[in-house]
Symmetry: C2
Subunit: 337 residues, 2 copies
DNA sequence: CTGTTAGCGCGTTCAA
DNA sequence: TTGAACGCGCTAACAG
């Protein structure tokens, strides 16, 4: 900057002023400064500015991973909002590990990001330490239990109820639940929804938690179908489970929906291309991130008011396709239930 | 920091020293300092450190978007490498627009990121301005033509040849190419591969570029199949095209591979679940990002040697599944062509 | 082994 | 309208 000042024959302050444009500067000197800037193609140093202002204009995002399209979508919508406000986003992954999450969150704090949006990793969160108190944090998709962070969620329980009820409406009575570890908050909620729907219909819950391994899913399903009165329908509680289940059923050569009906939680790209197209409970994936980002920015704008934590729950919807039988193949004929 | 120093009854330099641990400090004072740090739960200010050292320990990543799993995967593998080296990653999207890309890249430069990894947006790149000369840049998936940036690519042309040849080997003679705008570098390369394979077999190329709109794809395919001697096979040049084509064929109720055979470029999650499973040319998606990141870090480590730009081309492979006919439906019977 | 000085690049404060 | 001095938090270089 001093180079620019020298070249323009002015003080650094004048340069600073034309850059920020708040204060009046003579047209003439202003022009000279601009010229000097162009000639040296000078760029202001945002690091110095951050240090000076105590504002980095950066927010942090921590997601379990980016290969899950759900998380990637969240990250994308957040970063779009940030871009609109001329903020940068520092993004990293926790690998679904609270320890990594903690380390990365602290790294961001040291970097003085102004706010943090986190999809908390599975397990007991280490985010409750006092050093996290001073920076606004919004959690997404899952809460940090016992924390006072803002939180954006979807209707997990109701969504599961919706999906299971759909199966019940199609006269299924033995409906098995398939999902990831019940440690995960979202899984717990969906299990609750499943149980609620089953009990309301006086049916027996049948819950199976598996890992993300396709092999394990195959094994689980094989066993499930080997019993004397096997389930006639599966409720899969997230898109990875749905995928693995479809995979397993495919390799076991089991027909959907004739032999097994399926409803999945969370929509996915190929859901309507697969034969048969899969009926799912859809979450408003893109809205989720946007809302979270907007909430965070409103926190940053707050004078200093310690408004109490908000919890926003977004609605889900049932997308009926062809994996539950009664609708048959939409391209052929429809049969009422 | 001065608070810590005061509380521990030492100078700030001593605090700095115990933090960095390079220089000897008496065990006793060291303990006092550590204690003070813990009591105040002090965290070093990375912004100040960045300003001081002229090193931000941040790298930037710009991808067209994050909802494309290919781009998301690249971002993820890069950020994993960064994490290993205690670097943060600033990630943003160009929305496939060179102007946005330029703005975001400059924002990152002002922030003094140490290096930049970019999947260049479609169109004429504005990244050639002189301000980009001082920061190491690695481009990914697509080159910036005429630039001297390092570049990590995959075998686009050979991949397309492989895929088309596979179709030819299955006795297809009228093979249509379906892809996005030929403006895109990768598309051009794949078209070249397609043409090369067709001409080598003395067949007539039949190229159709469409947008990413499913409706337009439907329209295109409908027209294609309406002619007197319609194609018997499609080569789809990226996963979006493949998806849209599958969608269209599904809604036109056309059987794969009986009526149309399909090969796609770029593998995708559901490719082996769809009936029939789709034969694709697979790119080493995860390796791509890792290599790019490692190359960037090696650039950062270079004393100042202006080593000449590297261009690394990663191999692709053909993954044969069931969408080309001769293998028939693996689960039923096989019919030789 | 430890403290002091100085400066990274910028912008607020105060004078001119 | 413009400039000079100071400090944001940190650490290399030099005393002590």
């Amino acid at each position: 900057m001093s180079d620019v000042a020298k070249l323009a024959g002015v003080g650094t302050m004048t340069v600073s002023r034309v850059l920020n444009g708040n204060v009046h500067v003579t047209e003439e000197t202003r022009a000279r400064v601009l010229e000097a800037i162009a000639e040296l193609n000078y760029m202001p140093n945002e690091v110095a500015r951050s240090l000076r202002d105590q504002r980095t204009r950066q927010i942090g995002i921590i997601v379990p991973n980016l290969h899950d399209p759900f998380f990637a979508m969240c990250a994308q919508s957040i970063s779009i909002v940030a871009k609109e406000r001329a903020y940068s986003t520092v993004i990293t992954t926790s690998d679904e590990d609270p320890a990594t999450e903690f380390v990365e969150a602290k790294r961001m704090l040291r970097r003085h990001i102004e706010g943090l949006i986190i999809i908390p990793a599975q397990g007991k969160s280490k985010l409750r330490d006092p050093e996290f108190e001073r920076t606004p944090i919004v959690t997404l998709d899952r809460p940090v239990i016992g924390s006072s962070y803002d939180c954006i969620l979807t209707e997990n329980k109701r969504g599961a109820q919706l999906g299971v009820q759909h199966l019940i409406d199609h006269n299924h009575r033995r409906i098995a639940y398939l999902g990831l570890s019940a440690q995960l908050w979202t899984m717990k909620e969906r299990i609750n929804g499943y149980i609620a729907a089953m009990e309301a219909a006086k049916l027996l819950p049948d819950i199976h938690s598996v890992t993300d391994s396709p092999a394990e899913m195959l094994q689980t399903i094989r066993q499930l179908l080997a019993i004397k009165t096997p389930p006639t329908a599966f409720f899969c509680s997230n898109n990875l489970t749905t995928r693995n289940a479809l995979h397993a059923l495919s390799s076991l050569n089991i027909k959907i929906p004739d032999q097994i009906a399926i409803v999945g939680f969370d929509d996915f790209e190929m859901a309507d291309i697969i034969k048969p197209a899969v009926t799912v409970v859809r979450q408003p994936t893109d809205v989720l991130g946007r809302i979270a980002a907007e909430l965070l920015f409103s926190r940053l704008a707050e004078a200093n008011g310690i408004e109490k934590a908000k919890r926003i729950v977004l609605p889900v919807e049932l997308v009926v396709r062809d994996s539950c039988g009664s609708h048959g193949n939409r391209l052929l004929k429809k049969t009422a239930v």
